[in-house]
């Protein structure tokens, strides 16, 4: 690199410094060739949605992993909290009747 970097660019010695422009984080979802739904693949930094899509193509589909991509701003995702895990998920654990396994399937019904 023959041209000096701009002064505000973080150097190797300042790993903890903010990234250039503080690019936001994006979550990447990939639909594989045989998959029906997009699956979370990972995350990346990008200045905007269009570039996020391109970075996702370069980072997550370079080994033919997918045929469709979604990128979502990480900040737009509302996640359940680990603290709420018991209240959220524990009660479903002992209710097997919620699974459709207690029904006799009539002989005439196919494809169930």
């Amino acid at each position: 690199m023959t041209t000096p970097r701009p002064a505000e660019t973080p150097t190797a010695a300042a790993d903890t410094a903010p990234r250039p422009g503080d690019w936001p984080l994006w979550e990447v979802f990939v639909r594989s060739r045989r998959g029906l739904s997009h699956t979370h693949a990972g995350s990346l930094h990008a200045p905007d949605a269009e570039m996020a899509l391109r970075n996702a193509r370069d980072l997550y589909t370079r080994r033919s992993e997918g045929v469709s991509l979604w990128v979502v701003p990480s900040a737009q995702i509302t996640a359940s909290s680990p603290d709420e895990k018991d209240a959220f998920f524990e009660p479903a654990g002992d209710k097997p009747y919620r699974h459709p396994t207690f029904y006799e399937i009539p002989d005439g019904v196919h494809h169930l």
């Binding site: 041209t3 660019t9 990234r19 250039p20 690019w23 930094h45 200045p47 370069d58």
Partner: protein, 238 residues
């Protein structure tokens, strides 16, 4: 060294040399995501170079054992990376050219048609990558705009050579290719709020004899680095 006279040689040299230049960004790119993007483009080009050079002879001999004046690549692709804007300007100029040329070749019965048909999809992405970055740097901050304008201006004089007919490809409509190229470049630069350079592209004080084997000063140093390992350890394997 046996070298078959084929237009695959100059086109293969373009791909090989630009691939090496892009590879120099490894470990130096502004952000990790961009590093992978540039490496992907470099590897696409290396793949093209291997196929093209194999049509002209032994790919390793051609890449590692030729002297500077035996290379037939455009002077544009051997230009140093400079700052990121220079790399993007070089990508914009070259990938636009390569996409138009490969699109044309893919529809001919040339021996290059199969390679061109496959590579044109890769190259369309390379052009999109350069286009997107040109828009963002040109229409970005004062600093990025200044640097992008400086880069497109600095590399402008290397673009005249792109449309000099290549030996063996005389049937390519070079003038029409040039007009399409100029229209696309103008469109991208205007969208990016940049000024289309007006400097000379032909004649004295311009560049453009790479296809004849005349190269610019930085090329010799690049070649020394690229060939050093192979020449130091002939026939080495691992």
């Amino acid at each position: 060294m046996n070298i078959t006279a084929t237009p695959a040689l100059p086109l293969g040299d373009d791909a090989l040399i630009l691939s090496h230049r892009l590879g120099e960004w490894a470990g130096h790119a502004p952000v990790l995501e961009e590093e992978v993007a540039l490496a992907n483009i470099a590897l696409d080009l290396l793949g093209q170079a291997r196929i093209l050079l194999s049509l002209a002879g032994d790919e390793d001999e051609l890449a590692y054992l030729r002297e500077e004046r035996q290379f037939r690549n455009l002077q544009l692709v051997e230009q140093p990376n400079g700052d990121f804007a220079h790399t993007i300007a070089r990508q914009l100029y070259f990938s636009t050219y390569q996409e138009l040329l490969f699109n044309h070749l893919a529809a001919t019965d040339s021996e290059l048609a199969p390679l061109a048909g496959k590579a044109v999809k890769e190259v369309a992405y390379h052009r999109d990558h350069a286009h997107q970055w040109t828009l963002r740097l040109g229409d970005g901050t004062d600093e990025s705009r200044t640097r992008m304008q400086r880069a497109v201006d600095a590399l402008w004089r290397y673009t005249g050579e792109l449309f000099e007919p290549v030996e063996g490809l005389e049937t390519v409509p070079w003038a029409a290719l040039h007009d399409s190229w100029a229209a696309r470049i103008t469109s991208t630069l205007e969208q990016a709020t940049l000024t289309v350079p007006e400097g000379p592209r032909h004649g004295a004080w311009t560049a453009g004899a790479g296809r004849q084997g005349l190269h610019t000063e930085p090329f010799g140093r690049m070649l020394a680095e690229m060939q050093h390992l192979h020449r130091s350890h002939p026939g080495a394997t691992w």
